[in-house]
Amino acid sequence: MKHPARIAALAVALVVIVFGVVLALNVGSDPQEDAKQSNLVGKAAPSFDLPNLAGGRVTLADIAGKSAIVNFWNHWCIPCQQEAPALESFYAEHKDDPDFAMIGIVRDDTTGDVKAYVKKRGVGWTIALDPSSVAALDFGTRGQPETYAISPSGVVAAAKYGPMSTTELERFLAAARANA
């Protein structure tokens, strides 16, 4: 073979160019943001069957036909505490709407602490308990707080990992409605 070094060098150059292009395309991306995108958006919401604070059960069927906001939280996580006022004012705004539902699912917490918190802050929406994180895993949560918008037909319209503001909650509700 004549000029083997040259041929090898050009082959390597080709690989490096392809490689460089792939890297260059990715320079603007943020993998941590990407990782936080939920996989469930656009798919059917997973069913769940959890106890609520009053002693009854809460299931997916309870929100069928309504535009729902499902919020995973617990009382001690700091971003959850940060978004609590936004959740409360958002709920106060929409609670009288018959097509609206809101459920808070608690994970990694004790029933006593949750009850005390709910009583202290006057939380009005349904609270479900998920001590074994079954629903949390079914929803593909990455931590808390994590909020999902579910359309009346049971499709996940939007999802976010992190504390919500009232504006974002409104957007979620609109997305759920639009997805009917």
Binding site: K2, H3, P4, A5, R6, A8, A9, L10, V12, A13, V16, F19, G20, V22, L23, A24, L25, N26, V27, S29, D30, P31, Q32, D34, A35, I78, P79, T110, G112, D113
Partner: protein, 697 residues
């Protein structure tokens, strides 16, 4: 004022680099001795500028000058002095400054070492290349990674460094030592480019940079081991290597550099593999830049990921330029480098080194592919996937075992060619030791395939290493009648490269054995304990004595006192803790480790006392971990030994430091030139009675 001073220093350094490059280029063109000397001296100015800038930054950090953005983000009034000083390399801009300082240091060393040779075009082009790299890093600091950026209003207190960077003294050692390795590879790269450009393809550039390459390799090895130690002792997840992209970024140049250290021996001995060695040296340097890009640009998810900044495109472009230059030069000159030597036989030291290089190159490819594959997959089909430990372990294990085998077999292979019989006889006893070790491990209960192969090959390699030492000592005793101790000392000092290399290999064997054992054994349990309660894991009994909280200006720490007993004996009280820092919501766990020769007991505080006053304690038993650090120590020791000057038996008429190009008359076959030949086994071989059957020695 400090910001202006610092920025001016950086600018001065960039200017000195430009002036130096221009002077050297002009000096080369015009063959002007003064310009060449002046250009060389500009290197000193580059170092002074970098030191000045770093000095200003340290001054700003220690005086808590929060008008500088870098200080406000990485320091606070509550930060202890040690972590204030190490704040210099706590974040992106500072780490570039550290790089510039170390690069200045290495360039100064080169400029000083070759001051008598500054008329040599090889040296001049090398300095031009080095100054160009220094110029790039100065440009980074003048542009996107400016450490001296000011804030319009200085806050009252800074944010403090990342909590993970201020809770262990290793922070003072791991980054600088790692950089001393990383940046050091610029030196062989400089000379490799110079050799290609000037057409001086012989081994001159190799001997010129051999020691520096080994020093850089040694520091990089030590830096990686310290990183593993940090991961284990500080991060608290109980492991020491996660195939994290940043870890891989430091591992990649180590792999190509190790391949280079081995194949360089072939080039010195036989003049072969020149193109390959030049490519390795260029690849090593490219990988240091690529690694910096991967970890600084934020394209890859990692524990180490620094804040994202605009530095990505600059680094990627520089990588492209360096790669293009290197590949272009090789493509242009490569075929004129064809070696005069030939490989005579497949059973020879040369082909063993070739195999060694193939395996290291393959491993480097695997690590690189696995690290960037998430990006490739995303480019090809839109969704990201992960490549983690299972992939790397599965691919790296067979390659690692093959390398262990080579480590065991290669020292017994002579150069050029030999009969299979000679090799078989030399390897018989070590191979038996390996085989019996394998069987012994199986009898004792080991059931992993890779595991017992690692034990067997490790024993094989160790027996081979011991054999080399024994031969060396025996040879001297027979010839010179020295006592064993004196023979050992003199043998190693008359061939430090060989024996240093053997000691490094022994360190590698220790590490391989630990890797094998840790994948097969170990326990991991979470136990919930109220005060006074105990639990037992793998023979260790842990009792929760109580917890307490301590506060300082730097952090608030909750620690739990755990009494540890084994076999009835109390081993002590250990205190795993969780610390919270003022500007962070997450707690940072600090593990508490009882280190033993056989295994470590590793305690972490998973959750602090809740309403029930019970803690959840993570209990892990990790086998043989201390031998990792001992193995690393052997590798460092071996490197130092390999760097030692050779003890000469005859006084040389030409001093070994004279590096002027030699006229042909000096090529006296009886005169061994210092670094171009490694006599290693030749003497002991001739004294081996088993060299040939029936033929008197």
């Amino acid at each position: 004022m400090k910001a202006a001073l610092g920025y001016a220093s950086v600018a001065f350094g960039a200017g000195a680099a430009v002036v130096g490059i221009t002077a050297l280029l002009a000096g080369l063109q015009l063959r002007d001795a003064f310009l060449l000397r002046f250009g060389r001296r500009c290197v000193y100015a580059v170092l002074i500028a970098a030191l000045a800038a770093a000095g200003v930054m340290e001054w700003a950090l220690i005086s808590h000058d929060f008008s500088l953005r870098y200080v406000a983000e990485n320091n606070s009034t509550g930060t202890p002095l040690l972590y204030t000083i190490t704040g210099l390399w706590a974040a992106l801009e500072g780490s570039i400054l550290l790089w510039a300082v170390i690069l200045g240091g290495y360039l100064t060393f080169v400029a000083a070492k070759f001051r008598k040779r500054d008329q040599d075009p090889l040296v001049a082009v090398a300095l031009i290349t080095g100054l160009a790299v220094a110029l790039f890093f100065s440009a980074l600091m003048l542009g996107p990674a400016n450490p001296f950026r000011e804030l319009s209003t200085a806050p009252f207190d800074g944010r403090g460094p990342n909590p993970l960077l201020q809770n262990h003294v290793l922070m003072a050692f791991h980054p600088p030592i790692l950089y001393l390795g990383y940046v050091g590879f610029t030196v062989p790269f400089m000379f490799g480019i110079a050799a290609l450009v000037t057409g001086r393809f012989g081994e001159g550039w190799l001997s010129d940079t051999r020691r520096t390459t080994l020093v850089a390799w040694g520091f990089l090895t030590l830096g990686i081991i310290l990183g593993a130690w940090w991961s284990y002792e500080v991060l608290g997840w109980g492991g020491f290597w996660a195939w994290d992209p940043v870890e891989n970024a430091s591992f990649l140049p180590w792999l190509t550099a190790t391949a280079f250290i081995h194949s360089v021996i072939v080039q010195e001995r036989r003049g072969m593999l020149r193109v390959w060695n030049l490519s390795l040296v260029i690849a090593t340097f490219c990988l240091t830049i690529l690694g910096t890009f991967l970890t600084r640009s934020g394209v890859i998810d990692s524990v180490h990921a620094f804040t994202q900044s605009d530095i990505g495109p600059w680094l990627l472009t520089f990588f492209g330029v360096v790669a293009a230059t290197g590949i272009g030069l090789v493509a242009w000159r490569g075929d004129k480098l064809r070696a005069p030597g030939r490989i005579d036989s497949a059973v020879s030291r040369e082909s063993a080194f070739l195999m060694n290089n193939l395996l290291f190159a393959a491993l480097a490819f695997v690590v690189l592919l696995g690290t960037v594959f998430p990006l490739i997959a995303e480019a090809l089909r839109g969704s990201r996937l992960s490549v983690g430990e299972p992939y790397f372990d599965r691919m790296a294990t067979p390659i690692g075992l093959a390398l262990l085998f080579l480590m065991a077999a290669a020292p017994a292979l002579p150069w050029r060619a030999t009969s299979g019989e000679v090799v078989r006889n030399r390897l018989l006893v070590p191979a038996w030791i390996g085989g019996l070790t394998m069987l012994g491990a199986v009898i004792l209960g080991a059931r992993g395939l890779a595991e017992i192969l690692a034990y067997g090959l490790g024993a094989f390699a160790t027996a081979g290493i011991v054999r080399q030492f024994v031969l060396g000592i025996r040879g001297r005793r027979r010839a010179l009648g020295e006592s064993r101790a004196v023979a050992l000392g003199r043998a190693t000092r008359s061939n430090p490269r060989l024996y240093g290399g053997l000691v490094v290999h022994f360190g590698v064997v220790l590490i391989a054995v630990v890797l094998a054992a840790s994948s097969a054994y170990g326990a991991n349990r979470d136990v919930t304990l109220k005060k006074g309660e105990s639990a037992t894991v793998s023979g260790y009994t842990v009792t929760f004595l109580g917890s307490h909280t301590s506060r300082s200006s730097q952090k608030t720490t909750i620690s739990a006192d755990i009494k540890v007993e084994k076999g009835g004996r109390v081993l002590g009280t250990y205190a795993p803790a969780i610390s919270t820092y003022p500007n962070s919501t997450e707690g940072i766990g600090t593990p508490s480790v009882h280190t033993g020769l056989v295994d470590d007991l590793y305690l972490t505080l998973v959750s602090s006392p809740g309403a029930q006053r019970a803690i959840t304690l993570g209990v892990r038993v990790n086998p043989l971990i201390v031998w990792l650090w001992i193995g690393g120590g052997f590798m460092a020791l071996g490197t130092i030994l390999a760097l030692a000057p050779r003890l000469r038996r005859r006084p040389r008429s030409i001093p070994s430091d004279d590096l002027a190009p030699r006229p042909l008359a000096d090529a006296d076959p009886d005169h061994r030139e210092p670094d171009t030949h490694g006599p290693d086994e030749r003497e002991p071989d001739h004294r081996e009675p088993d060299h040939r059957e029936g033929v008197p020695v």
